[in-house]
C-alpha cells in the first residue's frame, strides 16, 4: 500500500492554506531500466481536495508531474479544527486518502 501523504493545512487570514506531499514514483513510461526494457508508466492521474463536503481543488495529472508530488494552494473559509481530506488515484487504480486538521 502506498505511504501516507504529508498534509499541512492552516488558517491564513480569511483563507486556509493547504500544502501536501505525496509519496509516488510518478514514472513517466519513457525511461528504460539497466536491461533496456521500458519502465511502465505509473503516475497519479486524479487528485481531489475536500473541505467538508465541498471540493476545493480537483486536478488531473500526467506523468510530467515530479516524483513525490508537491501541491500548495488556498481556499476561502475553513476554520481551525476542520478537516481537509485529500484523495489521489493513479493509473493502476491504486488510491490513497488522507486527512489533516486545519491548524
Amino acid at each position: 500500500m502506498a505511504d501516507p501523504m504529508k498534509i499541512r493545512a492552516h488558517v491564513v487570514g480569511d483563507a486556509t492554506e493547504v500544502k501536501v506531499l505525496m509519496s509516488h514514483e510518478m514514472e513517466t513510461g519513457q525511461r528504460k531500466d539497466a536491461q533496456g526494457n521500458t519502465i511502465p508508466a505509473w503516475f497519479i492521474q486524479n487528485v481531489k481536495v475536500m473541505h467538508d463536503d465541498k471540493v476545493v481543488l480537483a486536478a488531473q495529472w500526467g506523468p510530467a508531474v515530479a516524483k513525490n508530488p508537491f501541491l500548495s494552494f488556498k481556499f476561502k473559509g475553513g476554520a481551525k479544527g476542520d478537516k481537509v481530506k485529500i484523495t489521489w488515484v493513479d493509473n493502476h487504480n491504486e488510491t490513497r486518502t488522507d486527512e489533516a486538521t486545519i491548524a
Binding site: A15, M26, T28, Q30, Q45, N46, V47, K48, K54, V55, V56, L57, A58, A59, Q60, W61, G62, P63, A64, V65, A66, K67, P69, F70, L71, S72, F73, K74, F75, K76, G77, T87, V89, N91
Partner: protein, 157 residues
Amino acid sequence: MDHPRRDALRRGGALSLLTLVAAAGWLPRGAAAAETWNKGAFETHSLDETMKALGGAPPVPSKDIVFFSTPDIAENGAVVPIGITSNVPKTEAIAILVEKNPNMLAAVFDVPAGTDASLSTRIKMGQTSNVFALVKADGRYYVNSKEIKVTLGGCGG
C-alpha cells in the same frame, strides 16, 4: 447530436489549444472530478501535433497570468517548481503545459469558486523549454508563457 457540447466549444473560441483540453473535458464540476482522466489531452506528443489537430483561434495572451516562485533556470529538470496565479476574473481552471516535453500537458487544475486561482506544484522538464500557463475563465481562454532553462549537472557528466 450533442448540440450543447458543440455550442460550448464554439463559445470557447472554436478549437484552440485550450478547447482541446475543454473538448476532451476540463474537469467536470463537483465530486465526480476524481473519476475522469483525459487521456487524449495527456497524449499530445508535440506542440505541432496538438496545433495541427486544432487549427483554431488561439487563446488570448494575458499578463493577468503570473508565474511566481518559478525560476528562470532549473538546476535539475526532474523537479521544476511552478507557481501560477491567475488574476483573470472568474478563473475556473489552470493548466500547465511544457512545449518540449514528450507529452505537452503536465497538469490541469479545476479551481472552484472560493478557491484562490493561485497554486504551486513541481513538474519534470526534459530540456530547456517554454512553459505555458493556460487559464479558463468565464468560458474563455488565456495564456502566458515563460522559458525555463534546464542545466546540466554532476561531476560524472
